[in-house]
């Protein structure tokens, strides 16, 4: 059933060949029926394979660019590759990519989901102002999610957090390799970042 299984074993070399020919595969988990779409999304950033793909893409991007001496460039490259992996399926990834296409000062305005907007008076009945405030802060932290409805925002946040965790794992791995594996990079605590999903 599974064309690949995410586990601790080293990924086969064919993962490199997959990239130019069928980049779509990066998003597909072993299950292909539509009812498991939600499970697919939950496991999306947690497989070893995804992390390997991201690491290699990031590394190639970093080596290609001559201006990687600035930490900001590295950060933006990392974000851009991460958003690229999402293939435009999430708002935050689209926001990152479009923000880079335009200048840095102007963020592209994304269409908001207007039919889900509730008038303020009804919203306050459901959630307290404190929660409202925190929702706003959260919306500012996740790129491109300032004016989302509650459920959309939570969905985006979950995906964003998973992606960020993978980004941290991958960049830590790259750093360790560049250091020669002498333990120069920070070790993410094993219980904090679940990096393996056994399907």
């Amino acid at each position: 059933m599974a064309s690949f299984t995410p586990n601790l074993e080293p990924a086969p070399d064919t993962s490199l060949q997959f990239k130019p020919k069928k980049p779509r595969i990066t998003l597909q988990t072993p299950s292909s029926c539509p009812s498991n779409q939600r499970t697919q999304r939950i496991k999306r950033w947690r497989t070893q394979r995804d992390q390997h793909i991201y690491s290699s893409k990031l590394f190639q991007a970093l080596r290609r660019s001559r201006r990687t001496s600035a930490s900001r460039e590295v950060h933006e490259t990392a974000d851009r590759v991460l958003a690229g992996l999402a293939r435009g399926t999430t708002r935050w990834s689209r926001a990152i990519l479009t923000a880079r296409k335009v200048t840095k000062h102007k963020k592209a305005k994304l269409p908001t989901n207007n039919r889900l907007r509730k008038p303020d008076i009804y919203r306050e009945r459901r959630k307290t102002p404190a929660v409202e405030r925190k929702l706003k802060v959260l919306g500012r932290l996740v790129p491109g999610c300032r004016k989302l409805s509650f459920s959309n925002l939570i969905e985006e946040t979950s995906d964003y957090i998973a992606a960020l965790e993978m980004q941290v794992r991958a960049m830590t791995a790259i750093t360790e390799f560049l250091c020669g594996g002498t333990g120069g990079g920070p070790q993410p605590p094993a219980d904090r970042l679940p990096s393996n999903v056994n399907s």
């Binding site: 080293p10 990924a11 070399d13 490199l16 939600r38 390997h52 690491s55 290699s56 590394f59 190639q60 970093l62 080596r63 990687t68 001496s69 600035a70 930490s71 590295v74 950060h75 990392a78 039919r115 889900l116 509730k118 009804y122 919203r123 009945r125 459901r126 959630k127 307290t128 404190a130 929660v131 925190k134 929702l135 802060v137 959260l138 932290l141 996740v142 409805s149 509650f150 459920s151 939570i154 969905e155 946040t157 979950s158 964003y160 957090i161 960020l164 965790e165 980004q167 941290v168 960049m171 830590t172 791995a173 790259i174 750093t175 390799f177 560049l178 250091c179 990079g185 219980d191 904090r192």
Partner: protein, 93 residues
């Protein structure tokens, strides 16, 4: 997924029920390492959101630090294609 937005069927104006809210909040709670241990206690929505923001900020900081370190490392190990090939093959294992 489309069942969530059954706006026309509900008598109240709000398009999302309280159950859905608690559902989503608990799903978010599960993702946050701080709150994962306390899964069986009732954690307030406000606290979950607060911890989410803190967690995202700390992840941002980590990525910042890592990219800082990476930029320094890359500056020192520059323009060595053999080394890059080795590292790339190591990354794939």
């Amino acid at each position: 997924m489309s069942g969530r937005r059954s706006r026309s069927k509900q008598s109240s104006v709000s398009s999302i029920t309280d159950d859905q809210i608690t559902d989503l909040v608990s799903k978010l709670q599960h993702l946050i390492p701080e709150l994962r241990r306390r899964r069986f206690d009732k954690v307030s929505t406000s606290k979950v959101l607060q911890e989410t923001c803190n967690y995202i900020r700390s992840l941002h900081r980590e990525v910042e630090d890592l990219s800082d370190r990476l930029s320094q490392l890359l500056a020192s190990t520059d323009s060595d294609s053999d080394q890059a090939a080795i590292i790339r093959s190591l990354l794939m294992q």
